[in-house]
Symmetry: C2
Subunit: 365 residues, 2 copies
C-alpha cells in the first residue's frame, strides 16, 4: 500500500485512475481515446459541459460568474490576473493590493509589479520570527484608497498557512486557491476572481481553473495575449485555443468522484478530521513540531520539522520503505511536509501518524 | 475498425495508448500514476529528460538550440513569439515580417500586431481565386529592411497548404509547425524558432513544443509574463511553472514509438505514400476535387470537396458507418478534410479511398 503526500502534482482518487485506464482506448464506445477527440466534436463538448456543470454545482457558483478552463497554472495567472484587471481603473498604472503570507504570495507580487503599482498591504514576515507562520490581522492591513483588486493566496502550499476567514474589503478579492479549492465550502460571491492550478485537488498539471465575476471581464490591458484574456476565453466557452482536453476529462472524473463522496461539505468534514489527527499528534509529540500559528494552519499542507534534524534522512528513507512517499519539505523551508489533499484517505494520515510515532519511539531511547 | 481523421486533437498510436492504460495506476513500480508525481521528483525528471533527449535525436536538434515544453498551444505562442522577439531590435515598435498563407497565418498576424509593426510580406489570397491555395513565390515577398524575424506557418491545417521548401532570408525564420512537426525531415538550423501545439503529431492538447536558437533568448519585452519568457523557461529546464506532466509523458511515449518506426525519415516516406494515394485518387475521380496548387499541397491535411455538395451529409454519414471518423471540413472552408498524421496508418487512407470510390460509384449512376 502506497500513500503519496506530494504537494502537487498530487494523489488522485484511485477510482478516477481506474476509470481513465479502462476508457483509454475507447471512450463510451466512440472508438477513440479522449486524447484523440476533436475538441469541437460532440463527444468532447459533452465532457467539457459536464465538467463545467459539476464544478458549478460543487462550489455553488452563482450565475453571474464564468468558469474558465485555461493553461499555464497559477504562475501564469500571476501575470494574467493583473493583465486582465489593471485595466479596471482608468488611472494607469493601476494600484494593485496584495497580502503577502508565503512563498506563493511573493511570486504573485513580483510578477504583478510588471503591470501595475503593487501595494503590499501586509507582510507576514513582520512576525517576530521573521518567517511566514501567520496571517496579519485584517485591521492592520494598509489598504490602498483605490485599488483595482485585493489579491491573496488562501492556502500557502509551501508554508502551510491557510485563511480560515474571508476579509471584508471594498474591492474585488482575487484569490489564488490552487491548493485549497474544493477542500472546503466557500461562498464564491465573497470573491471577484478565484483561480488555481488543477494539480492538487482537481486533476493533472496543465489545467488552470478561473472563476470570474462577469463585471470583471473586458478590462484587459492591450498587452494581454488573446488566449489569456478572460473575456475572450469566456466568450468562446474555453475554446478560443484548443483546451487541455485530457486534463479536463480527468478533472471531470474527479468532480464526479467528489459528488459521490457527498460533495465539498462531506470532504471538508474529512479534511478537518485528517488535519486534526496529524496536527494533534505533532503537537503532542516530543520529536516533531509545526511552527505555524494555530489559527491559520493549513488543512491541506502540513509542514513539520524533526527537532533533531540530523534524523531527516533516516526519517524519509524509513517512511519510503513503508510506502509513505514524497514527504520531504520544500527546499525553501526545509524539514518535512505532508500534503493531505481530498484524495488522501484518513487511513493514509493514520499510517503516517503511526509511522511517526514508531520513529519517535525508536529515536528517543 | 475505426480510422480517426480529426485535424487535432488527433489519432495517437495504439501502442502508446495501450502502454499509457497499462501504466495508469503504477508507473514502473513507483506505486504512482504519472499524473500523481511531483514534477521535481526523480521519476518525472527522468520522463522529462527522456522525452527531451528523444525529440532532440529525432529532429537532430543542434546543441545551440533549446527545447522547451510549454502551455497554451500555438495560439498563445502567437503572442509569446513577438513578446520574446520584438525586443531583439532596439527600435520600437519592432518590424515583424509575416507570410500569410492560410487561416493560421491570419491568426498569427492579428495577434502579433499588438506587439510590433507587422509587415505582411506576401498574402496568398492575392491568387486569382482569392482563396488560400498556394504559396506566393519568395521572389515576390516584400521583406522589410530590418525585421526582427520572418514568421511563417509551414503547414496550414485548415487550408491544406504546406511549404515544401525553406525560404532563404537574412533574419531568423520563426515557423509554426504545429501540424507538420515530426512528419518530415527538417534542418533545424534553417530556423530561429520552431513551435507547435502537440495535439497533431506529438500528443495530447495542452503541451506546446518550442525549439529556439540560444541567441534569440533574453530579448523579451517587459510585458512578457515570466511563465512565457523563453529564457526563463529555458533557464529552468521547462520547470519554471509546473509543466503539463502527463502530456509530456504521452509525448515521450510517442517519441519512443517514432524511433521504433525508424525515425522521422521512415515516417516521411510513409507520409509521402499516404498523401500520394489520396491526392492521386481525388485527382483521378469525377466526384471529388482538391483545390490546392499541386506544389504546395499538405501531406498532413487533405481538404477536398464533393463536386455535388448536396451529397455532403450522405457522404459523412456513410463514412461514419464504416468507422471513418471526423472527415467534415473546417467550417471556414467547408467540404471535407482528411487529416493523415503520423499515427494514421496507410491502411486507413486506403480504407478512405475505397469508401470514396464506392460512394462515387453509387452516386454517378
Amino acid at each position: 500500500m502506497i500513500y503519496n503526500f506530494s504537494a502537487g502534482p498530487a494523489v488522485l482518487p484511485k477510482e478516477v485512475l481506474q476509470q481513465a485506464a479502462a476508457e483509454m482506448l475507447d471512450w463510451h464506445g466512440s472508438g477513440m481515446s479522449v486524447m484523440e477527440m476533436s475538441h469541437r466534436g460532440a463527444e468532447f463538448m459533452s465532457i467539457l459541459a459536464d465538467a463545467q456543470h459539476n464544478l458549478r454545482e460543487l462550489l455553488a457558483v452563482p450565475d453571474n460568474y464564468k468558469i474558465l478552463f485555461m493553461q499555464g497554472g497559477a504562475i501564469a495567472q500571476n501575470a494574467i490576473v493583473p493583465m486582465n484587471l489593471a485595466g479596471v481603473k482608468t488611472e494607469q498604472p493601476a494600484t494593485l493590493d496584495y497580502v503577502c503570507t508565503g512563498s506563493w504570495s511573493v511570486k504573485s507580487i513580483k510578477e504583478a509589479a510588471k503591470y501595475g503599482r503593487v501595494q503590499v498591504v501586509a507582510d507576514a514576515r513582520n512576525h517576530p520570527s521573521g518567517k511566514f507562520c501567520s496571517i496579519p490581522v485584517p485591521d492592520s492591513w494598509q489598504l490602498s484608497a483605490d485599488a483595482a483588486y485585493l489579491h491573496l493566496c488562501t492556502n500557502e502550499t509551501i508554508d502551510g498557512v491557510e485563511y480560515h476567514f474571508v476579509p471584508r474589503v471594498n474591492v474585488p478579492i482575487v484569490a489564488d486557491m490552487s491548493s485549497s479549492i474544493l477542500s472546503r465550502q466557500i461562498n464564491v460571491a465573497d470573491y471577484g476572481v478565484i483561480y488555481g492550478g488543477a494539480q492538487k485537488n482537481i486533476g493533472p498539471a496543465g489545467l488552470t481553473i478561473v472563476i470570474v465575476r462577469e463585471d470583471l471581464l473586458g478590462h484587459a490591458l492591450p498587452c494581454c495575449p488573446s488566449a489569456f484574456n478572460w473575456k475572450t476565453v469566456a466568450d468562446n466557452d474555453s475554446m478560443f485555443n484548443t483546451p487541455p482536453t485530457y486534463a479536463i476529462y480527468i478533472a471531470g472524473l474527479v468532480f464526479q468522484w467528489i459528488k459521490r463522496q457527498g460533495g465539498v461539505a462531506a470532504l471538508e468534514k474529512i479534511n478537518i478530521a485528517k488535519a486534526a489527527l496529524l496536527y494533534d499528534y505533532i503537537d503532542g509529540s516530543t520529536l516533531y513540531e509545526n511552527r505555524i500559528q494555530k489559527d491559520c494552519r493549513s488543512r491541506m499542507n502540513v509542514p513539520f520539522f524533526l527537532r533533531d534534524e540530523s534524523l531527516n534522512a533516516a526519517f524519509l528513507s524509513a517512511a519510503k520503505v513503508l510506502g509513505l512517499l514524497q514527504l520531504k519539505g520544500h527546499s525553501s523551508v526545509g524539514g518535512m511536509r505532508a500534503s493531505i489533499y481530498n484524495a488522501m484517505p484518513i487511513e493514509g494520515v493514520q499510517a503516517l501518524v503511526n509511522f511517526m510515532h514508531e520513529f519517535q519511539q525508536q529515536h528517543s531511547r
